[in-house]
């Protein structure tokens, strides 16, 4: 079993609006684990995930990707990391199929059958060719989540994945994340939903300091 950390944060610090949001934050994410980032509203969960994903560059400290500074091999980092944020990354004017195709086009070529299967897997069978703006908020999130069924990136950073998803869907996502960790993927989630998974790790943010 691989146990070398995929991503390692050392002394992460981030200031926002003259407030120290993250301080002395050190942790490592190893393959085969599910980690939940916890904290109140405004404690910096989303900021942390955006920093880890490479969207926010306003931080100090060190981020190591496979043991080396992330800046040294950004391409390999981006190739191996999947980030789903608050905004689903779905174009309202395009259909779920076109959206998925466009999102996967920059990652790896996937044929339409696989994508249709992924959409069916998230309960969107029959909606493949309906413009996304005609779908409900939950369905739009599901289009974004369909990516999880075809994604092969070892590291997943998921911000509030359970938003607008019904109880059935939440259960399915929980199972998917658990299975992913069992297969050797690393998953980092933020959620206010009461996620109960055996062996889950925690990163607790709040009060300007975090610990593992």
């Amino acid at each position: 079993m691989m146990s070398e950390p995929l991503l390692q944060a050392v002394d992460l610090e981030c200031e926002r609006d003259e407030r120290l949001l993250l301080q002395n934050l050190s942790f490592s994410i190893v393959p085969g684990t599910l980690t939940r980032v916890e904290g109140e509203n405004g404690s910096g969960k989303t900021t942390l995930l955006r920093i880890l994903a490479g969207l926010n560059d306003a931080w100090t400290g060190e981020l190591l990707w496979c043991g080396k500074p992330r800046a040294h091999d950004r391409e390999s980092f981006h190739r191996n990391t999947l980030y789903l944020g608050h905004r689903p990354g779905i174009k309202p004017l395009l259909t779920p199929m076109e959206n998925l195709r466009a999102l996967m086009a920059g990652r790896r070529p996937v044929n339409d059958d696989v994508l249709a299967q992924a959409l069916a897997g998230t309960g969107l069978a029959g909606y493949e060719n309906v413009p996304c703006r005609n779908l409900s908020a939950g369905q739009q999130r599901r289009v974004a989540l369909a990516r999880l069924l075809v994604a092969d990136e070892p590291l997943w950073l998921l911000d509030e994945v359970f938003t607008a998803i019904d109880a059935e869907g939440v259960k399915a996502i929980e199972a998917l994340l658990q299975q992913r960790a069992a297969e050797g993927g690393a998953v980092l989630v933020t959620t206010h939903h009461d996620l109960q998974v055996p062996g889950m790790r925690r990163i607790v943010l709040g009060g300007g300091r975090g610990n593992e």
């Binding site: 969207l55 990354g89 174009k91 069924l149 869907g169 297969e183 050797g184």
Partner: protein, 241 residues
């Protein structure tokens, strides 16, 4: 949801090639634009209206129009492009596709170049195609019209490319419109001067080779440098959002 039969997780060694990723970005932008045709028509209508209003508002005399026609067309085209710039990244920013673009493994400046080229094809190119008709309307002679089209063909991509820097810089701001214009107009001035200068020189029968070469140089400069600047600006805007 299940993903039964998926192999154990392995690092992704090889991604998608740069060119096919750029093509996908380009294709998506074009597809989205054609789903929202009124946005495509906006700059074109603006262009036509400004050029039509000039003879009505200032003077319909042939001598006046012949003399200032090229200038009017160029200014109208410039403002039409400026008008459309805010859309270049705004929608993508709002729906989150821009985040995913920034996180793609391919170099960001190339993906932005693809986006900017799509923007030019959807706004600048229609203006170029329409300009001969409006050129006839302002009584330009055949030679002048040909030169005017040529300068617009070289000049409008420069407008889109420079504009992409401003659009990326003002992305996180709420009242981006005014700031965008203030930032970008000074950079547009050289293109405008040489664009209209070329047509004026052609009307006097002077050689235009030098002018066109300079405009070509603008294009090459913008093509090579603007995507880098936009990519850097985009990362800053992303960090602050």
């Amino acid at each position: 949801m299940n993903s039964a039969g998926r192999a154990l997780v392995k690092p992704v060694e090889q991604g998608v090639g740069v060119f096919s990723a750029m093509l996908a970005v380009f294709a998506r932008d074009v597809r989205v634009a054609f789903r929202q045709r009124q946005d495509l028509l906006n700059p074109l209508l603006f262009f036509v209206m400004v050029v039509t209003l000039f003879p009505l508002g200032v003077s319909p005399e042939v001598s006046f129009l012949q003399q200032s026609g090229a200038g009017i067309l160029w200014v109208a085209a410039l403002l039409a492009v400026l008008l459309s710039l805010d859309h270049l990244f705004r929608h993508d920013f709002d729906d989150g596709t821009l985040e995913q673009l920034v996180l793609q493994p391919q170099p960001l400046f190339l993906l932005i170049l693809a986006k900017t080229l799509a923007h030019w094809m959807l706004t600048g190119l229609p203006l170029v195609i329409l300009s001969p008709v409006l050129g006839v309307m302002v009584h330009l002679d055949g030679n002048s019209i040909a030169i005017l089209c040529l300068t617009l063909l070289i000049g409008t991509p420069v407008l889109s490319l420079i504009g992409s820097i401003g659009a990326a810089l003002t992305l996180g701001l709420r009242s981006a419109g005014v700031l965008l214009s203030l930032l970008i107009i000074p950079l547009y001035i050289p293109v405008l001067i040489f664009g209209t200068g070329t047509v004026a020189a052609a009307a006097e029968g002077a050689p235009v080779g030098g002018y066109l070469a300079l405009m070509g140089a603008f294009l090459v400069l913008a093509l090579t440098l603007a995507p880098f600047a936009s990519a850097a600006a985009l990362r800053i805007s992303m960090s602050n959002s």
